[in-house]
């Protein structure tokens, strides 16, 4: 699958440079700016019929083990396309162990999940649908279910030319639908400002923008149109207290370590989310997580990989003190010395990276099962 990285980079350069800090040290970072259209892989082109099918599948709980947990259950439009909780729910009898990330603008990431475990939306969907603390679905069973839903049989024929629905194509349709869940630049105050409307940001937001690019130096990692460099850093975010006291969370925490294939010692001592380490197994990657985009934060509380910060004020306080303590803590985080007004201004600017109104949509009507006609 080819991501159009080159096109994106050109788009960034073509965009007027806005808000670049005057400090020389920040010239290296790509500036914030409106997002280009999301990259489309050549082997999963978009079409209206495909995204419509993908929307139905996104809402359909029959894609999962016990028909309890469709994608939408943890990526709910009214909850910022996440699940609004610190740690995501799982299917009945389980809890997940990380914060559910928003689907908004997920089309732009080159890696999905907090530890970057998959490299496409097409790869994220099966991880979630089949994950044993997520959807717990079996692909062969989910696929057979779709084959007993005549409307899906017709949809897959129309969209993919298949005689029978296939799970791989279901994931492609879902990915295509997710590529439509993106910020509308006309609705984002910062994007309007970047596109020429100098009144789109108020004074507090403009001051905040200057802090973002200067004194607060958020731009070091939260840069480019996505407001994320998509790299991995450890911030010393404190562990979520639920892991100390709640059985369901403890079960998942151990399970994650066991099934990710860490050493026995790492499993037995597991008292921390090791982040990128699970992928690379390199000690320097312990506790590192992928920089999330700062778009749509108005709708995606709480924040961080374990959802411990409920408000942007809390987040800014955390960075103002220089982050927390923990392994591989990034040297980029330093105490900022922001006063109360500066903190408020910074939050005001962060909110200006969100659409004025949340992106909501009606639930699709889901088609029923029908008995299959069989020859007598």
């Amino acid at each position: 699958m080819k991501l159009t990285k080159k096109t994106t980079a050109l788009a960034i350069l073509a965009t007027a440079t806005i808000g670049l800090a005057t400090a020389a040290s920040n010239i290296a970072f790509p500036p914030l700016g409106p997002l280009p259209p999301p990259p489309i892989p050549t082997d999963n082109p978009m079409s209206a019929a495909k995204t419509e099918l993908g929307k139905k599948l996104f809402w359909d709980s029959r894609l999962g083990g016990d028909a309890s947990s469709p994608c939408v259950a943890c990526h709910f439009p009214e909850l910022g396309w996440g699940d609004g909780g610190e740690i995501s729910r799982g299917y009945p009898g389980t809890q997940h162990w990380r914060n559910s990330q928003t689907v908004l603008n997920s089309a732009y990431y080159n890696k999905l999940f907090w530890e970057g475990s998959v490299t496409s939306l097409e790869g994220q969907a099966p991880s979630a649908a089949e994950g044993n603390v997520a959807g717990n679905g079996d692909p062969s069973l989910m696929e057979m279910r779709m084959r007993f839903i005549p409307e899906y049989v017709a949809d897959f024929k129309k969209v993919f030319g298949l005689d029978w629905p296939r799970m791989t194509h279901a994931y492609q349709a879902i990915a295509a639908f997710e590529r439509t869940i993106v910020s509308d630049a006309k609705q984002v105050p910062f994007d309007r400002y970047a596109n020429g409307d100098k009144s789109a940001l108020n004074d507090a937001q403009k001051r905040g923008m200057a802090l973002f690019n200067g004194k607060a130096n958020c731009i070091q990692c939260h840069n480019g149109p996505l407001a994320s460099d998509q790299k991995f850093y450890a911030l010393g975010v404190p562990e979520n207290e639920v892991f100390k006291t709640e059985p369901l969370f403890q079960i998942t925490h151990r399970w994650e370590h066991y099934q990710k294939g860490v050493t026995e010692k790492a499993y037995r001592d597991a008292g921390l989310d090791l982040g990128l380490y699970y992928i690379t197994k390199h000690p320097k990657d312990v506790n590192k997580f992928r920089t999330p985009s700062l778009r749509e934060l108005k709708y995606t509380a709480p924040f961080m990989h374990n959802g411990i910060f409920y408000t942007l004020d809390d987040v800014v306080d955390f960075y103002n003190q220089g982050g927390g303590t923990g392994p591989n803590k990034s040297p980029l985080l330093k105490a900022l010395g922001l006063n109360d007004t500066e903190k408020k201004d910074l939050v005001a600017f962060l909110e200006a990276l969100s659409m004025d109104k949340p992106l909501l949509m009606e639930s699709p009507k889901l088609p029923p099962y029908q008995p299959m006609k069989v020859a007598k």
Binding site: S61, L79, G85, P92, G93, Y310, T311
Partner: protein
């Protein structure tokens, strides 16, 4: 927690019970009045959500479940909780102290439950299938899991309503994504949910001036100031809109 209990005990005086953690003393009251009124909704109510029933159709029904978030009938708004925000002593708790939530026909009953903060909620499974209640405390834009418990068989379990700071509780079933309800975790027993016709009534209130709020799960909150006189009913109304 301990500090509040000591404070409550100190305030006890003629109180029959120390209420525990949340600083309200329940006991005998005299010279009481009532707050009554109506909650209304202006404009066209948003359409209910339609969620497909994709499992247990023999128990939960066929087709779609209609989830009504804004229940309006002839301009009257149902399930807005009208409550007194601050009162230190007053009547006994009554029903909110022994709350019961039923899961029947894959629906929560009632769909708006008033519970005492910290009370043990009896959760009943009346259906021959797994229900898995998952409650969330709504703190600003965040929903914090309060408890998440499976009930594979019919019967009752108890879970404590231990909110950290908020009143609003969302109730869902992890096994059936079309089951939704709300609860209001009250600091005192002076809370009532508006009925079908929008009416509400809060009685046994000692005479005095009170701040009264009307909270609706998706429409937000309204405030009013009410003066209650002994033996009389103070009328107040709330109007919500989209």
């Amino acid at each position: 927690m301990k500090k509040l209990t000591l404070l409550a005990t100190a305030l006890a005086g003629s109180a029959l019970l120390a209420s525990g953690a949340y600083g309200y003393d329940a006991g005998a009251v005299a010279g009481v009045g009532k707050i009554a009124g109506k909650v209304s909704f202006k404009g066209a109510a948003p359409a209910p959500r339609q969620i497909a029933i994709t499992k247990d159709v023999g128990i939960c029904g066929n087709g779609n479940r209609e989830v009504v978030e804004v229940a309006v009938k002839g301009g009257a708004l149902k399930n807005a909780v009208v409550y007194v925000t601050k009162i230190d002593q007053g009547k006994a708790w009554g029903a909110p102290e022994k709350p019961l939530l039923d899961q029947k026909g894959c629906s929560f009953t009632p769909d708006m439950l008033i519970v005492k903060k910290g009370a043990d909620l009896t959760i009943r499974n009346s259906d021959p299938t797994l229900h898995n209640i998952h409650t969330y405390e709504i703190i600003g834009k965040v929903r914090r899991t309060m408890f998440n418990v499976g009930q594979p068989d019919k019967g009752d379990i108890k879970q404590a309503v231990n909110v950290k700071r908020a009143n609003a509780i969302k109730i869902e079933c992890d096994a059936h994504d079309f089951m939704h309800a709300w609860a209001f975790a009250a600091d005192n027993p002076y809370a009532a949910a508006s009925a079908d016709n929008g009416s509400f009534s809060i009685d046994g209130l000692p005479a005095g001036d009170y701040e009264v709020k009307a909270w609706h799960p998706v429409l937000g909150e309204q405030v009013a100031k009410v003066s209650v006189k002994a033996g009389a009913t103070a009328n107040t109304a709330f109007e919500f809109s989209k």
